[in-house]
Symmetry: C2
Subunit: 861 residues, 2 copies
């Protein structure tokens, strides 16, 4: 619950409050009238035409004076309304249940313990009603921030000081080792996925080819149903993995990785189980002939591998190898995950520099040079390993420059003329429009899915339908579209079928369908001029646009890059055909080149990345000179698309309510103060606290961080005017539970040997800290005390309550904070700000307008 | 002057002090023995073997407990020693001089005004004695930080609120426009430099060629002296520019740009005068045949152009165009400069992605996605413009993919075998060793120069000597080394001379010397096998190594990249010859490829960048597949080089004493607290302050930021135990002078029209704020008062005095701070930390050891 600034007794903020409320300035100090009076008088006039609506986007024009208007006035009724169970502090002296129910229930309200004053902060609605699911302006309370800000407490310092420089050097060397292993493993996983898909596809399409050729004049229903069955089989496996085994493995994984790199603790995102489900699932999805790619899942795989290797233990298999124990904290883990994601991009596209830029573009909040080098090293190792294995597989062992290793084949001679920028820019605009349309359709579809396709079995049925529908579309296109060509016109056709063509000819449509989407992209990029009729490509574009749109968001692991590229390559090639028709004798009028531009435009319009995509496309076509047009096309597509909606990843992130932080504070938010966004009351703990109170706090609250204060202030007559004690540090829920679990009580001091209460206690529990109900405490324990000082973070970042929002935002963003304590000018705790308090004000800029919306917070989405 | 923690009365820090001083913990709160006693007892044992020496690097092994030991104990003698003139506060009531002497003199000591207590913080030595110049462990007090943290004061808010969203949108559009103009102008400047050098070189070498051929059998002294004269002439111009006109334009400019991007205000670094001197100077240096490149200066040019365009005014020519007035602050300017530097790299090497990475690698403290896009856009525009102009110049207008546009020529077929990584890594090691040697020699030479070649005329004489010596070496090599070849063996030879060779042959040595260094690099990369004898290359390598080493640091504008690449290409080609000899029939045993690897290794060994160099080399050879070996070579060279010393740019930065911030706090510094590095006493101002006191403070202090406090605390009996008032904000010297200059006094309130005291007052004065002596105040004015509140930064970042150094460091680094106020736990000012307080502790890691050194601070270097 946010309260008005004026209700906090904070002399430091008084003046600014006065300014804000347009009162004249106090003249007491100078004894003469100040010119500030005049300075601030005209403000009132311009800060009126403002509205914020929590459920709909309102177009806001002109000037705003944010937040104040829509914050609930604190009134006694409010307090009473949310008043809750009243266990007084003395209740801890009464007999306690020895095993507690879980402390992290669904209620987020919290009682003020220890001061006999009980009311609650604003209670989020429990869950979005089914038929309202799919709104974009929601936040889910279930996502926590990572503890990126390392807690440098006494036990941490103890380790550092006893182990000295050698430990620093060892850690540093270990980091390089972890990154190297990550790179190698990521590449190997990518190779296994790659080779499995290729081998099984070969089997599948050879069989289909054989059957089609055999039954073409007899009964085409046989190959049709065979195709359908061969699609449904693998997709069933993929859908089972993505629905029952690990729902998080469904989709591309890039949104999840993006959230994680942004600092959000996405549950289970870096588990080995997720990796396995993802790797097998994506192999099956691609094999099932769906309009999916394997690149996104490979990036996710890299992230999981990095997390796994760096932690030296797996929670999925409950095995602790004891390696790299000192990396068991969120800060180190997130840094490794960013290296893993880069290695993933590198393995997926053979684009190490693109990988580094991907990590930078998606993940960097505070980027460090030595981290950049490690990320680059990991990406290079990954690319090297991948090339080594694939070159051996392709029969040219050790030939790392073999052009067959490029995903989309080498473009050797991409020349262009200066005036070609005109069609390029027009294609960028078209890509932006199509991308925005794609995103809109997929958004509506996802809303439908969130409302009506939630149960796993429904998801599986939908996947099966899509799989069969894909086969049907392909089959009917091959059947009805009459496009024959000489077999030599496209070297990339692997499984040519003759169908109704003349002897020696092949069916051009089948050449697109009888292979994986990635190979189809290659075909469209490199097939000779006139390899396809324009009718073929047109029909294919429409069908594939619909298919790709329908497929993304299905309950199977599925990448977005390749289907988008393929759709774009299709219409790009159409443009190329037109230009080739107009300038038949010009060398630069190359259909393949325009297919590449179309693919870039489409990708830019859908995902809206620019820098990393440019480099990825440059690297995976092996051509640098074409970087400039690619970049311009991607930029234009992004601008045009942004006019209408967000990128597809962002839409999915917003729908799942992940509190992802923007790069900058909302504009015009300098007149919002920390006191207006902070949470109050704050549950604070004393430096030496009774076990019973800690247990009670953990039971009653879902908060994850508690300020540690000197001692509770006396008197509780007016809660709004009081602080919650002089700040001495901050301690996390997870740390408290470890302390309780291990009974690190002052009274047990003699039981503890020297050095036994050290940082290993906490590392052992990371990352799945105990729940409160796993802690067994008897009545005697409850009367003991815990000294929190050696374990708390003794110098948490804190700011004064009249700090402007952008400064709060910068602190959070640049330092990766989870909790920020708000103090009054005597350094006493008056509130807490967490990620969600900042993220709930979101700016949007569409259709030439700009506005601020406040998101609704739910416990579940 | 730093004081011991224990001397500050700060209950919050008491406990941690106790821990630190190994006292037993107070048991007063819990009443029972705490287990912390045991926890911290063993610390004492491990924190002893420590030494820090301010003048020499001491090898520190094992564990340290830093700083405490070498900080001067505060004693009354100290205080007395630095006690200064004692103008009491009441002196302001006495008649004042109406025009003041400059406030920013050479003394950095500061009196505590207004509290009748006068002593000073540690006085830095005035200047380094001449025969001690060139130490690496110094800091110069003359460098200030940029105000990267925008001061969001009331006048700033006023503008934002009155102008609203439209202003935000307009600013955003203007940013893109500025970046685009910067890109275009940078490219045009690069083109002019490029084309001028090419045209004049053509003239020079044609003349030389003609004369050599003419006099070869008659009198070779004529071409020799002609060569000498043709070298000396242009070099004289360059040296004049670099010595008399603008000394800052000497050198490559990359160190200065790096410092600026790091957040240091390097005086005159982004002036138009510097740009002109640099552009003309580098053209002349290259034309003068020196071992220099034009790339570094081009990067500097880009930075200057960005600063100039974004400010819409030039201080060099004292002209204000009135454009982009809202970008007149350090934050915006630094962001534009990073875009300009990227555009510069892009123009110098045709490497837009490399440019972005250069800015990231060198400059990013807090990197923002939208900024990255703008930087990339600027780099792309620059690359596009450059290609457009150069393709027209080369007779293929609009053909942007013309391979002649690549700096080092296109490598079409760089294939390599897996086992070739062995020679690559060995070459990386060699490159690291040679680079470290190069850096060492250049360092010793620069020390000599700082001591004995300081006067401009001496610099000019040295430059002339080097110019003539270069011609001499070239001439003698051509004369003595007998290396003839068929004219067809190297297509890159522009001015072949026959010398003593047979008819139809050409002298291979002359082909290297009779062209610019950049063309020589191209020759070594692309000449056919056996185009040079190994003796030729060996002699050339030795000579050029010495020449390049001697030339860098000369008082002329001169880039480092090309001579380093050329040196590396020479020994790389030697390795290539050896391999070609061993495997004569293998296609991959290409001499040019090994020349490229050698060039990369040498460059990596000298400058120690990895990520951006890899991409730059990839982009300017047009080859992606060779990125992996390049990266590995650069990485190995960096590691080997770092074993011995720093990169050359860093050495030069250290010698000039620029307080550049590292990426991370020193290791093991978690037990250093802010109170130990902060400056005390602090000069604070009251919210409503008398003009006379402000004038006095500005006159007596050189500080640039003053905390604004509620009111001065009463009593001054024990200065160390008291604070300097409750923090309300911070105000800069520059702001105060503007207020005084414009007489924004409370008593003058009726004179000011509404809206006249606004942010424009401050922008108009940026970046060369008035000096105090430019302010005219009469006696009446001195008795008036100023209300500082609307102009101060009302929520400066502040931390509590017991915060550990790494957290202070993170704040500075991530947020680009200039001043950080240290408060006690009642939010009262107790100290100030600035960049130099953090930078003066520097970590070094060489020869497998690691240590911490404290730098000496001088007023001038």
């Amino acid at each position: 619950m946010s309260i008005r600034l004026s209700e906090i007794q904070d002399p430091l903020c008084d003046d600014r409050m006065e300014q804000k409320e347009h009162e004249t300035l106090s003249e007491e100090r100078s004894g003469i009238p100040s010119q500030k009076e005049r300075l601030f008088l005209h403000r009132n006039a311009v800060s009126q035409n403002f509205s914020v609506n929590t459920s709909n986007k309102d177009i806001v024009d002109g000037n705003i004076s944010v937040v104040e208007e829509h914050l609930p006035e604190t009134s006694p009724e409010d307090e009473n309304a949310v008043e809750m169970v009243v266990p007084s502090r003395s209740s801890s002296d009464e007999p306690q249940e020895l095993v507690f129910a879980t402390g992290s229930g669904s209620t987020s309200s919290c009682n003020q313990l220890g001061n006999s004053i009980f009311y609650s902060s604003a209670v989020p609605a429990d869950s979005v009603p089914q038929d309202e699911r799919g709104e974009l302006n929601i936040l889910s309370a279930e996502y926590e921030s990572l503890d990126y800000d390392t807690c440098i407490n006494s036990v941490w310092l103890d380790e550092e000081r006893t182990r000295g420089y050698k430990f620093i050097t060892k850690k540093d060397a270990a980091r390089w080792l972890v990154v190297m292993i990550t790179g190698i493993l990521t590449a190997l996983v990518a190779c296994v996925i790659d080779i499995t898909i290729e081998s099984l596809s070969k089997f599948k399409y050879t069989w289909l080819q054989h059957n089609t050729n055999k039954y073409v004049t007899k009964n085409l229903a046989i190959p049709y149903f065979l195709w359908g069955a061969l699609n449904i089989g693998p997709v069933l496996v993929a859908a089972f993995l993505g629905s029952y085994v690990e729902p998080l493995s469904a989709g591309s994984g890039i949104p999840q990785v993006k959230c994680y790199l942004n600092g959000v603790k996405v549950p289970r995102v870096v588990r080995i189980k997720t990796l396995l489900s993802k790797a097998v699932g994506v192999t099956m999805s691609v094999l099932g002939g769906l309009a999916v790619g394997k690149e996104g899942p490979m990036i996710h795989s890299g992230a999981v591998i990095a997390a796994g290797v760096s932690q030296g233990k797996t929670t999925s298999f409950n095995k602790d190898f004891g390696f790299f124990e000192y990396f068991r904290e969120d800060h180190e883990k997130r840094d490794f995950v960013s290296a893993g994601a880069a290695a993933g991009v590198s393995a997926a596209f053979g684009a190490p520099v693109g990988g580094v830029l991907f990590s930078l573009e998606e993940g960097a909040s505070f980027w460090n040079q030595s981290l950049t080098w490690r990320v680059f090293f990991g990406a290079m190792v990954s690319s090297f390993t991948l090339n080594l294995v694939l070159s051996a597989y392709n029969g040219v062992p050790g030939q790392l420059t073999y052009t067959g290793l490029l995903n989309f084949g080498a473009f050797d001679d991409l020349t262009y003329q200066i005036w070609e920028f005109i069609p390029f820019i027009l294609m960028g605009i078209l890509g932006g429009l199509l991308g925005a349309l794609y995103n809109y359709i997929n958004y509506r579809l996802t809303v439908f899915r969130m409302r009506y396709v939630q149960q796993p079995w429904r998801k599986i049925i939908e996947a099966v339908i899509v799989a069969f529908f894909t086969a049907t579309i392909g089959f009917f296109m091959i059947y009805f579209v009459n496009d024959c060509r000489r077999a030599s016109e496209d070297q990339n056709t692997l499984y040519p079928i003759q169908m109704f063509c003349d002897e020696g000819d092949e069916n051009a449509v089948a050449s697109i369908w009888f292979q994986t989407p990635e190979q189809s992209v290659r075909s469209l990029f490199h097939a000779k001029a006139d390899a396809y009729k324009w009718q073929t490509i047109s029909v294919f574009f429409v069908c594939y646009f619909i298919l790709a749109c329908w497929t993304y968001g299905l309950g199977v692991p599925a990448g977005l890059f390749i289907p988008t590229l393929l759709t774009g390559a299709a219409w790009g090639r159409l443009v190329g055909m037109l230009i080739h028709l107009l300038f038949p004798s010009e060398g630069w009028a190359d259909e393949g080149k325009y297919a590449l531009v179309g693919a870039a435009a489409m990708l830019g319009g859908v995902v809206r990345m620019t820098l990393s995509l440019t480099v990825i496309l440059m690297e995976c076509t092996g051509n640098i000179t074409f970087g400039l047009p690619l970049m311009i096309v991607l930029m234009v597509a992004k601008w045009v698309g942004d006019y209408f909606n967000e990128g597809l990843y962002d839409i999915h992130i917003q729908m799942s309510g992940v509190p992802i932080m923007a790069w900058e504070a909302p504009p015009l938010s300098n007149n919002i103060y920390a006191s207006e966004v902070m949470n109050r009351p704050v549950i604070s703990l004393q430096c030496v606290e009774k076990v019973s109170r800690i247990v009670e706090v953990l039971k009653q609250c879902t908060y994850n961080g508690f300020p540690v204060v000197d001692q509770f202030p006396e008197g509780d007559d007016a809660i709004y005017f009081k602080s919650f004690g002089k700040l001495r540090g901050i301690i996390l829920r997870s740390q408290l539970v470890v302390l309780l679990k291990n009974k690190v009580f002052n009274e047990n001091a003699e039981v503890w040997q020297e050095g036994k209460v050290d940082i290993h206690l906490f590392r052992k529990a990371y990352p799945r800290y105990y729940q409160l109900h796993q802690v067994n405490l008897d009545e005697e324990d409850m009367n003991k005390t815990v000294d929190l000082k050696p374990f708390m973070n003794p110098s948490p970042y804190n700011i004064i309550s009249c700090t402007a929002l952008p400064r709060v935002f910068s602190l959070f963003r640049a330092l990766g904070l989870r909790h920020l304590v708000i103090c009054n000018d005597a350094n006493e705790v008056v509130g807490m700000v967490t990620r969600k308090d900042l993220v709930k004000y979101r700016v949007w800029k569409h259709r030439g307008q700009m506005g601020l919306e406040e998101l609704a917070i739910y416990n579940r989405v």
